[in-house]
Amino acid sequence: MRAKKEVSRRSRSILVKLILAMMLLSIISVAIILSVALNEQRQIIESNLIEENKRVTEVAARSIEAGYITQSLPFRTLSQINASEEVLFWWIVNPEGKIYLADNPAMCGKRVSSLPIEAGKTVVKDYVYGGEDVKLLIQPLAIGEPGKVEALCIGISLKLVREAANKMVLNGMLYFFAIAGLACLLSLFLARRFTEPITQLVVETKAISRGEFDHRVAIKTGDEIEGLGDSFNEMAQRVKSAIEKERAARRETENIMNTMINTLILVGPDGRIVKTNKATLDLLGYSVAELIGMPFDKIIGPRDKEGGEIELEKLIKEAADSVVNFETTYIAKDGREIPVNFSASVMRDEKGKLQGLVCDAGDITERKKAEEERQKYMAELERFNRLAVGREMVVIELKQEVNRLSARLDEKPPYDLSFVDATILKKIKDSDRRVY
């Protein structure tokens, strides 16, 4: 249950992160696109406004020039221009920059600084009028004294541009929020679609980690995730097979261990018994639970620790040695000392790190008894042999003596003693010394 919750929490976290990332990306994209589009649109509107009013200014200028000749200034035209919401004012300025005629007579007599008047060309200049940013269109007039250019200045309000821009921004914001909302929903949908297989993978991986190797994912996204799902299923199948093989191998090993006549004890690096086989339990009389974890020292070696003691600690510490066919004893649960033929070898992992000792021991109680019997028998036999051999040696010695005497007599030795070599002669002498 807890694991399920954990999986759910993590998948939610991925989902949330993904949604946030997609939303952020969408919102940033939309914001940038809208910002650029709005700016472009504003510039277009402003440019159109200026171009349109440039033409108006030119027409007005031509009317003024015509009216100058007939002394009839085009006030109606100028009034119509002034009635336009875009036009804030108009001035007629002399070459010194002094306004001498204006829509607002109060402006007459004032001077305009930095007024770029260029013959034959309408100049557009940014201007501040009454605290408002305006575009000043400066149209030269072919009136007045020759060589001195007067100008018609028309102030164009950017209020409409601003209003249009504000409206666009407002609409843009509405679009922005609508698109952002849509992007959120889409992000949610896509993120869910994207994370669903991942969530499934996580759940199934957890199941497999719990040992439920029959779990498989069914992802049909047609993309890399589906590939990942397939790989996962393949991997799960392989893991299952591998584990089954391992289990089989383990079972086989255990079977082998338990079938072994010899005892087998696996001792950990700390000197405690890690694993054992049935023969050990049978021999020592312990149960598995009793034996596992028990210090190996407790069951190995003679009680008096004199002779037959293996240097287990040294073996473990140095981990560089092994013991083969060493006769010692195991101490059974009931305290009996059981002679065993002990072999041990150091077990290392692939990196060479000590993992423990594998101790193999065979019960040699019967062999020991048989040996004792044999030794008794051998002693008897030797004693008898010594008696028999001694007499034979005496005979051989006598024959040798006869042969030596015959030789002294230059007679042919009567006894063939060629089978007697130096060893036998030495034994004869020795047995002679022991027997006699």
């Binding site: 006030f75 007579p105 007459c108 007599g109 004032k110 001077r111 305009v112 600084s113 000043l136």
Partner: protein, 442 residues
């Protein structure tokens, strides 16, 4: 979200911010002071203060400031009827003792080179002159005190000449008359000084043609009178008197008229003829009768005056139509046999007169605007009212364009008097006139 906010705000900021390299307007140019040691010194002031006394004080104060130590001998004073005429004239006389005052009431506004002045209650303008080279004589008369307007005119010009203390006929006469008597008054004046002396001016106006107009002559205020100024000088005085309308092909002969009512033109009812000529502009009034004053501003009639092969036009403003007999009342006397023509125009044309007429005034005596000492501008109130309200303030600007920075005083009148060379002095409507004074010897 922070990132998004920054992006949005950043985009908005970059979008909204644009660097400006705008120029600036310099402070208004300082008022030019009159040049010292000139032969003609002029002071001009105006006010639209609601208090008559303070208004006059303000105007007189400006005058004194400009005149400095000079004492004026003569003042032209125009005021709207919003002020009590007696109070303001009394105040002027009080503040400018021993100064002859000529003037009258103006319709709605007065103007100076400083602007078109319309007050909440009223407005007034005062122009005072100090010059040993010009003799001014102000004379006035109440028509009611004489058997006829002609006699009143005659008496007034005699008084003016006497006040000037000069002998012979004046060089020019300024006139502020009374509506309905202009021709008679002119006849009386001409009886004294002949037809060759230009008489320029206008009939005093009020705000709504209710007869509140007044004429000022020194300390006299007339309701139905005349105020004249006889001017003697060796300096050139330029002047122009014109209507400035465009002629049309429509013309006819008055076949029946009486005083200021035209009954028939070419033996047809005058109003019907006028309506035909204007393309049905007064059809409604033809049927129901009533004032055509506003519409007729752009379609005046003009008396055709022929003299030595030259055809002059004297515009006449149609006032109303009588629905019963389809007669046409006008603002000037018309006689049987007078040839009349339909004129036409628009407000632009009427506004441009503020430029063309002063220019012509200069041209009349080959004067330059730099030499102008002061000017007197008379503009028909009807044409002023025909201008869009926000265009009216351009008049003084145009006048300044024509005559430069010289001070001038302007009034809006109900009929204008002027001179046609070789014909004499006439009374017309919808006309404007400009008189400019210089130090240039004749």
């Amino acid at each position: 979200m922070v990132v998004v906010s920054l992006i949005v705000v950043g985009a908005w900021a970059s979008y909204a911010h644009k660097k400006k390299d705008g120029g600036v307007l310099s402070p208004e140019l300082p008022e030019e002071q009159p040049k010292k040691g000139m032969l003609i010194s002029v002071g001009c002031g105006w006010s639209d203060n609601n208090d008559e006394g303070k208004a006059v004080e303000e105007a007189v104060s400006s005058v004194r400031t400009q005149l400095g130590a000079k004492s004026p001998e003569f003042a032209i004073f125009f005021s709207t009827v919003g002020y009590d005429s007696n109070k303001v004239l009394s105040a002027v006389n009080s503040l400018l003792p021993d100064v002859q005052v000529y003037g009258g009431t103006s319709c709605l506004a007065v103007q100076t080179k400083e602007g078109f002045h319309v007050g909440e209650k009223g407005s007034l303008a005062l122009l005072a002159v100090a010059s040993k080279n010009i003799s001014f004589g102000v004379g006035g008369a109440s028509i009611d005190d004489f058997p006829s307007a002609r006699e009143a005119g005659k008496a007034a010009i005699q008084a003016a000449i006497d006040a000037a203390g000069e002998k012979g006929v004046p060089k020019l006469v300024l006139m502020t008359g009374s509506v309905g008597h202009e021709e008679e008054l002119l006849a009386g004046i001409e009886e004294e000084i002949g037809k060759d002396v230009p008489v320029l001016g206008g009939s005093a106006g009020d705000n709504d043609i209710t007869g509140e107009w007044k004429q000022f002559a020194n300390d006299d205020v007339y309701s139905n009178g005349i105020s004249l100024t006889a001017i003697y000088t060796d300096f050139k005085i330029g002047w122009a008197y014109e209507a400035g309308y465009l002629r049309s092909e429509n013309r006819g002969t008055v076949t029946r008229a009486e005083g200021r009512i035209i009954y028939e033109i070419d033996n047809l009812p005058a109003a019907e003829v006028y309506n035909d000529w204007t393309g049905g502009a007064v059809s409604e009034e033809l049927e129901n009768g009533g004032s055509v004053l506003g519409k007729a501003t752009f379609y005046p009639l003009a008396k055709i005056i022929k003299k030595e092969g030259t055809e002059y036009t004297l515009s006449i403003h149609p006032l109303s139509i009588n629905a019963t007999d389809h007669s046409l009342e006008v603002f000037a006397n018309v006689e049987e046999g007078d040839e009349v023509m339909l004129m036409h125009g628009n407000w632009e044309l009427l506004l441009n007169r503020a430029l063309t007429t002063p220019t012509k005034a200069l041209e009349s005596e080959s004067l330059s605007k730099e030499g102008v000492s002061f000017g007197i501008y008379t503009y028909c109130a009807g044409t002023m009212l025909a201008l869009p309200e926000d265009e009216r303030p351009k008049m003084p600007v145009l006048i300044k364009t024509a005559i430069g920075d010289a001070p001038f005083i302007g009034t809006f009148t109900f009929g204008e008097q002027g001179h046609i060379r070789g014909v004499g002095n006439v009374h017309g409507n919808l006309v404007n006139s400009m008189v400019v004074f210089t130090e240039k010897a004749a």
